[in-house]
């Protein structure tokens, strides 16, 4: 007789709520007239994310291995990541509300007659909101997935909507579509490796469950080529998602091409989901053979930190600069995974939140800096911005300081704690390269500050659009969190310290 699997709906609710919101959004897109559609979509998206966040808080102390048979593990570590994703996504969604970022009709070819007509008739598609909610649902599942199939499904659920929304930029349509296509091709390529890795691991252990893989490593010994090929290919899929060198090539192109609010959302939330999953897989399934895979990760972390920092030096485009900055940060975050300790996980959590809010805030400000044709990403035209809009320039400077790890910002505490964790676990090379890379990275952060504050504005200098209430609120939230976590880091550290459980 076939029994239906028991699902613990209470523990799965955050994912289900977001999925429900997404489905509702699809219906709204189909049945509500264009006068109210955008407003209703925003409300649905924000309410879904906020409710899911509240739900995560209410179940934050729960631990379960069998929330969905053996496929989802609910524990402190997973719930923290879910909470972080939802909090970041909520703020990121605030920047989506300036609807002139997105193509009037996504299906119209760039430059085609259909597109021109869509613009003329004032068409404004709002499918972006359900797509983002689908992506968020995938992200929520990714760090709590406990078997390789669920992981793969989550990976695809989060990736495919991202491929689409990358191509939705209203201006510079070709760049945007090119980025989407590149992201899709390379994403599919890396997903194939991920799936391939899963197959090897199944071949090794006869199971897709992370727990069984661990026990097989313990019982039959590690010396099996399928195991190592599995580890390598799984790593490729995950390292691609976080944008680590040499799997980073898509990052600058996609970050630049995607609509800027999407870039901020992607940069912050995808990293949380991917690092959450990475930490879980490598400690739960491969913790026993950490000495075998650690050199690979140390190497990747080192070239990621250094490569990202060095490549950013010659960039002239603010979004590309921030993309390389995010690559560098992926390297720093890898230090927390490599530490593979409780301190490593805590500092990873803190870092993801600190970095996430600064990133969303920074990209949020990029959406505001414009001229008559739209956003201006050429740094030379930001000269003297501080004289025109001191508030916006100061906020941007704060986010850059936090990226650079200047004390009294969240970024300093994050960097300090993650390097401490890496140092304590004996990975000194990472700390040395990390500190040097930070110094290099500081160069291009401060260069932007220099351009904004110490250059005289020219006729070419951009102006800052007056932000709507929701956008201002988003920037203020990011600003305050970056500052508060820099001054009272224990607010978050104490929480993170209580949420480090990972079920085996």
């Amino acid at each position: 007789m076939l029994t239906t699997p028991a699902l613990d709906y209470n523990l799965l609710a955050p994912i289900l709520i977001v999925l429900g919101g997404a489905l509702l959004g699809v219906l709204v897109e189909g049945f509500i007239g264009k006068a109210y559609r955008a407003r209703i979509q925003i409300i649905i998206a924000l309410i879904a994310v906020a409710t899911a966040f509240g739900w995560v808080i209410s179940i934050r102390t729960k631990i379960s291995q069998v929330a969905a048979v053996d496929s989802v593990s609910i524990d402190g570590g997973g719930l923290f990541m879910q909470g972080a994703i939802l909090a970041l996504a909520f703020v990121a969604l605030l920047f989506f509300t300036q609807n002139d970022h997105f193509a009037p009709q996504a299906s119209a070819l760039p430059g085609s007659i259909e597109e021109a007509e869509a613009i003329r008739s004032g068409l404004q598609m709002t499918e972006i909101y359900p797509l983002v909610l689908f992506a968020i649902a995938g992200m929520l599942l990714f760090p709590v997935a406990h078997d390789l199939i669920t992981l793969f499904v989550a990976l695809e659920v989060l990736s495919i909507p991202l491929y689409i929304i990358t191509g939705l930029a209203r201006r510079r349509r070709l760049l945007s579509q090119e980025a989407a296509l590149k992201y899709f091709l390379l994403g599919a390529y890396s997903s194939a490796f991920f799936l391939f890795g899963g197959a090897f691991l199944y071949g090794f252990s006869g199971s897709l469950s992370l727990g069984v893989i661990r026990t097989t490593v313990a019982s039959t010994g590690a010396n099996h080529i399928f195991l190592y090929l599995g580890v390598l290919f799984i790593s490729v899929g995950l390292l691609f998602k976080v944008g680590a060198v040499p799997f980073h090539s898509w990052t600058p192109d996609v970050y630049q091409g995607a609509p800027t609010p999407v870039t901020g959302f992607m940069a912050a939330c995808t990293k949380v989901a991917a690092f959450g999953a990475m930490f879980r897989i490598f400690i739960v399934a491969f913790g026993a053979i950490q000495n075998d895979w650690r050199p690979l990760f140390v190497g990747v972390a080192i070239i990621t930190m250094a490569g990202g920092a060095i490549a950013a030096i010659v960039q002239r485009d603010v979004k590309r600069t921030l993309a390389y900055s995010s690559i560098t940060h992926a390297g720093f975050l890898l230090a927390g995974v490599i530490a593979l300790s409780k301190a490593g996980l805590t500092s990873l959590m803190f870092y993801l939140v600190a970095y996430g809010f600064a990133t969303i805030g920074a990209f949020g400000i990029v959406t505001l800096v414009r001229d008559s044709t739209g956003e201006v990403n050429d740094l030379n035209r930001w000269a003297g911005l501080a004289k025109k809009s001191p508030g916006v320039a100061s906020a941007f400077a704060l986010f850059l300081m936090s990226f650079g790890g200047i004390p009294l910002t969240a970024g300093f505490i994050a960097k300090f704690s993650i390097f401490t964790a890496a140092y304590e676990s004996g990975n000194i090379a990472i700390v040395v390269v990390g500190v040097i890379s930070s110094a290099i990275a500081l160069f291009f952060y401060l260069r932007v500050v220099l351009i904004m504050f110490f250059k005289e504005p020219t006729d070419d200098t951009v102006s800052v659009a007056v932000p709507s209430f929701l956008v201002s609120a988003g920037i203020v939230i990011c600003f305050v969190i970056t500052l508060v976590l820099g001054v009272y880091p224990n607010l978050l550290f104490n929480l993170a310290n209580t949420m480090t459980t990972l079920v085996p």
Binding site: L185, P246, G307, I310
Partner: protein
């Protein structure tokens, strides 16, 4: 106890933050606060007086300040027999000078700021004497340095005054480095920087460490107290308003060095090397200051040289072992009265003479400014050590103790102190004669007049102190007994008695009469322009014995050369290295940019290469 510091600090902050709004009443608030601290000081004194000797010292923890590793420093205050003397002196004289300044600064549009700085000084100076550890003391030490800098340069619209403020600050920094090194050695040696901890540690510390700490503390004292070789700033510091000169650069801050050495008696008692350094510095400075004082025509600079010389006496006394500390403090207190009084007198004269400071342009002022003349005269008698005025009790004790060191050392130190007393009599008589008697040499436009009551009342109070304080402090050895628990001084004048106290006093009196008499005969007539044809000795004294030129040649010029060298090194070597690194990185960056060519096939290839390299790494690691 904490209010002693908190009140003037808050008042200073308030006056600075409020700005012009507080112009109308700022001076009144500051004076009221200063008087309140004096009242608290008096109350603390009587409550302490009611206790028995062992229970008089009180410690009060304010908050935990630093807790890093082994270093634990609380912000704690220590009020004991030594610090209460200073508290009373600082707040008492401070309050008088606040009152005096109300009138003196009446026409200055920045009077409120001046009073804010005065309150800041009071707070910092009280922290200096109340801190229970070297680190707490250091905060106050730096605070008074700051207040002194701000007040010397109060009229910084005059570039010369701003330079004087800078000079004082820099000379003080040299001393401050000494203090910070002393603190570091203490921490390295004893693991603590509190007075109690260092005292316990000093009992069994190596002589080298003790001598090093002692020498560094002496350097600090030399900076703050204008002792050789860091004395050059004090004369220039007279650029500040005269009440500042009276309070900071005569009565209180410049004596902080004496306090530091007395407070660190456990270091100096245990190290004879450090004591020798101390007496050497003291003797050199007391003669140096006295000689410089003989040639100055600027009344404030003459008094400043005198201050330097008198503090030399105090430093000398602190180097004479346990017995000397109490006499040093006694001279410090009596000096606080008579020197502050004389400075206020000088200020009163300047006030009446439209800020003229050249004594050759004074003369015959006694009739026109009788109160100033009398109060100044009483201070004059006190500094000369004429019995029964205050200086007689304190200075003669120092000379006596110096002689009692015995042997050649005793004769050398005692003799120098005695000669110093003679020179003191000469230059002080010169000041009095030039200013108050003789022919009137001022220009027709000047209308010398007595100052208002707000100015002369403080002078009268200080004059009473100049007359009576010596007797009161030494009657029944009251101060020596009072300080005994802090400095372990014995009652009697220590050492072998070389001469009877009476003989010493008579000798001192003879020397003083000789010096004063010579001055009176020499300055029967005074040319109102300083004569050019003078002895080499006078020329040297006029130029502060060439100390500035020496500093310039030994420190300033090599310092400038070093700075230029460092700038060049910075520009070419360090910046060159930085530029090279930057160039290399941006070249690499350029290469990386070319790899990022926008073709998906290239990206996929890079990923594939990465996978192969990754496989290789895992293979190598696991093989």
């Amino acid at each position: 106890m904490v209010y002693l510091i908190a009140l003037p600090l808050l008042s200073a902050a308030l006056l600075l933050v409020l700005g012009r709004i507080a112009d109308k009443w700022g001076h009144l608030l500051a004076t009221f606060i200063s008087a309140t601290t004096f009242a608290i000081g008096v109350a603390e004194f009587f409550s302490m007086h009611g206790q028995s000797g062992g229970n008089r010292a009180v410690t009060q923890k304010v908050f935990e300040w630093i807790a890093v590793g082994n270093l634990k420093v609380d912000a704690s205050l220590l009020l004991d027999q030594l610090s209460i003397c200073f508290v009373l002196l600082i707040t008492g004289v401070g309050t008088l000078i606040h009152i005096y300044s109300i009138a003196y600064m009446e026409h200055d549009k920045d009077r409120r700021r001046f009073f804010a700085y005065l309150n800041l000084f009071i707070a910092a100076m009280l922290l200096l004497v109340l801190g229970d550890s070297y680190l707490n003391l250091y905060v106050g030490w730096e605070g008074v340095g700051l207040a002194s800098y701000l007040l010397i340069g109060f009229w910084n619209q005059n570039p010369a005054y701003a330079v004087a403020a800078k000079k004082a600050f820099i000379a003080n920094r040299v001393g401050d480095v000494g203090l910070s090194i002393a603190i570091m050695i203490s921490f390295a040696q004893f693991g603590t920087v509190s007075f109690v901890g260092v005292k316990a540690g000093a009992a069994h510390a190596s002589p080298v460490a003790l001598s090093a700490i002692g020498a560094m503390l002496l350097l600090a004292a030399a900076g703050k107290s204008a002792q050789f070789p860091l004395q050059s700033w004090l004369g220039d510091a007279m650029a500040g308003p005269t009440p500042v000169s009276a309070l900071i650069h005569a009565a209180t801050m410049v004596t902080a060095g004496v306090y530091l050495i007395t407070r660190s008696n456990f270091i100096f008692d245990a190290s004879s090397t450090a004591r020798i350094l101390v007496v050497t510095v003291g003797v050199i400075t007391l003669l140096f200051g006295a000689i410089v004082g003989t040639a100055k025509d600027d009344i404030k600079k003459a008094l400043a040289a005198s201050t330097m010389s008198q503090i030399g006496y105090m430093i000398l006394a602190t180097g004479l072992g346990p017995v000397g500390y109490a006499f040093a403090i006694m001279h410090l207190l009596t000096h606080g009265f008579f020197k502050a009084g004389m400075f206020l007198g000088a200020g009163s004269v300047m006030h009446g003479m439209e800020d003229e400071v050249n004594m050759r342009k004074y003369g015959g002022l006694a009739r026109l400014m009788p109160i100033t003349a009398v109060t100044f005269g009483l201070g004059y008698l006190a500094i000369l050590g004429v019995p029964p005025f205050a200086g007689f009790y304190s200075k003669d004790k120092i000379i006596e103790t110096a002689f009692n060191q015995g042997g050649g050392k005793g004769i050398l130190l005692g003799g120098a102190a005695l000669i110093g007393a003679g020179i003191t009599a000469f230059y002080m008589t010169r000041v009095v004669v030039l200013t108050f008697s003789g022919a009137r040499r001022w220009k027709d436009g000047a209308h010398p007049h007595e100052s208002s009551i707000l100015m002369w009342a403080p002078m009268v109070v200080l004059a009473i102190g100049s007359v009576a304080s010596g007797f009161l402090l030494s009657f029944g050895s009251s101060l020596v007994n009072w300080l005994q628990p802090v400095v372990n001084a014995s009652n009697a004048v220590g050492g072998k008695e070389l001469m009877k106290p009476l003989v010493v006093s008579l000798l001192a009196l003879v020397v003083v009469i000789l010096g004063a008499g010579y001055a009176i005969t020499k300055y029967r007539t005074v040319p109102d322009v300083a004569p050019e044809k003078v002895s080499l000795f006078t020329k040297a004294a006029r130029k502060d014995l060439y100390q500035d030129d020496l500093n310039d040649a030994l420190l300033v010029k090599p310092g400038k050369a070093l700075t230029l060298g460092l700038v060049a090194t910075d520009n070419y070597v360090i910046d060159g290295a930085v530029r090279l690194v930057g160039w290399v990185l941006s070249e690499i960056s350029d290469v990386l940019r070319k790899i990022q060519n926008g073709y998906v096939r290239t990206y996929a290839l890079i990923m594939l290469a990465g996978i192969f390299i990754g496989a290789l790494i895992i293979w190598v690691v696991t093989a």
